[in-house]
């Protein structure tokens, strides 16, 4: 184990800002992509269903 304590872990030997900045942005990138994709998929299904109902009428 490399870390004596949690604060030690977050501090990362003084490089905490750089390391967590990197990991944070990566996580944010992935999350944003997943959320946007989920929304787009739901929107596609909604609009297709709307269109289908409209055609059935």
């Amino acid at each position: 184990m490399e870390w004596a304590s949690w604060s030690d872990f977050w501090n990362m030997g003084g490089y905490g800002l750089y390391i967590w900045g990197s990991y944070g942005v990566t996580v944010a990138g992935v999350l944003i992509e997943v959320i946007l994709l989920k929304r787009a998929s739901a929107e596609t299904r909604r609009s297709l269903k709307r269109m289908q109902q409209w055609e059935e009428q």
């Binding site: 184990m1 490399e2 030997g13 003084g14 490089y15 750089y18 390391i19 992509e33 994709l37 596609t44």
Partner: protein, 244 residues
């Protein structure tokens, strides 16, 4: 059932639906394992201190940005040669994820560069060609967005991907060469001797996780595109009705 059957959108839609959870869970588990390696198993680097831990995402992201581009070029070429709709859909589905990884590679590269070289940005071959790769991704996505006609968009985007694929290596080597002329010594991100085995393992695990993630996301996107493009067909109507 042979491979060709899966090339039909209806079958591929079902197959993709079954595969997505596997890849998504795989990506999650591998990420946890990879992060454990990178933060708790890999020792502190005696030269770079803890800052080197950024490479556990920087390097896989840089790999992904290039690999995804090559895979896009591959699908584009297949689509242009054999006129298969599905391959164009794959190419399109990969682009946003590729651009995202390229951005992550640039961002993490800058955050690593600051403590290591004292500068957020250096015009070294890898960062510069990564930047130009991002421009190419943006160009391709913009071209797709600008063309309303699906068939034209598919083909035009793939042609652009192909000419970019020929150009990326040339750009890389020209920047590298330009760089050696302008700065006495090149800065090498990965000094081979100090690379411990455990570091390599961490990068590999995270790279595979990134692959699984990319595949899962691309499949979701392809499924969405299939639904849109095949909305006139009976099987799509049946699927939508079942969900109602």
């Amino acid at each position: 059932m042979n491979l060709y059957t899966y090339a039909s959108p209806a079958n591929f839609y079902r197959l993709a639906g079954k595969l997505i959870p596997w890849f998504a869970w795989g990506a999650g588990i591998l990420t946890v394992w990879g992060l454990y390696i990178s933060f708790f198993m890999a020792p502190t680097d005696f030269q770079q201190g803890e800052a080197y831990r950024i490479i556990f995402i920087h390097v896989p992201a840089a790999w992904m940005s290039m690999f995804i581009y090559m895979v896009m070029a591959f699908w584009g070429a297949i689509g242009l040669a054999f006129n298969t709709r599905l391959s164009f859909m794959m190419a399109r589905a990969l682009a946003p994820t590729g651009a995202m990884f390229t951005f992550v590679a640039l961002w993490t590269g800058a955050l690593w560069g600051k403590p290591m070289w004292g500068a957020w940005w250096v015009w070294d071959a890898r960062l510069t060609s990564e930047l130009i790769l991002l421009f190419l991704y943006i160009g391709i996505i913009a071209l797709w967005a600008a063309i309303d006609d699906i068939r034209r968009g598919d083909r035009a985007g793939s042609l652009l991907t192909l000419i970019g694929a020929i150009n990326v290596p040339i750009i890389y080597f020209s920047v590298k060469w330009w760089n050696t002329l302008h700065q006495g010594s090149t800065i090498n991100l990965m000094k081979a001797p100090s690379m411990a085995k455990i570091m390599l393992l961490g990068m590999l695990v995270l790279a595979i996780a990134a692959w699984f993630y990319t595949i899962a996301v691309a499949l979701v996107r392809v499924r969405r595109v299939i639904l849109e493009r095949e909305r006139q067909t009976e099987w799509v109507k049946a699927i939508l009705e079942k969900e109602n």
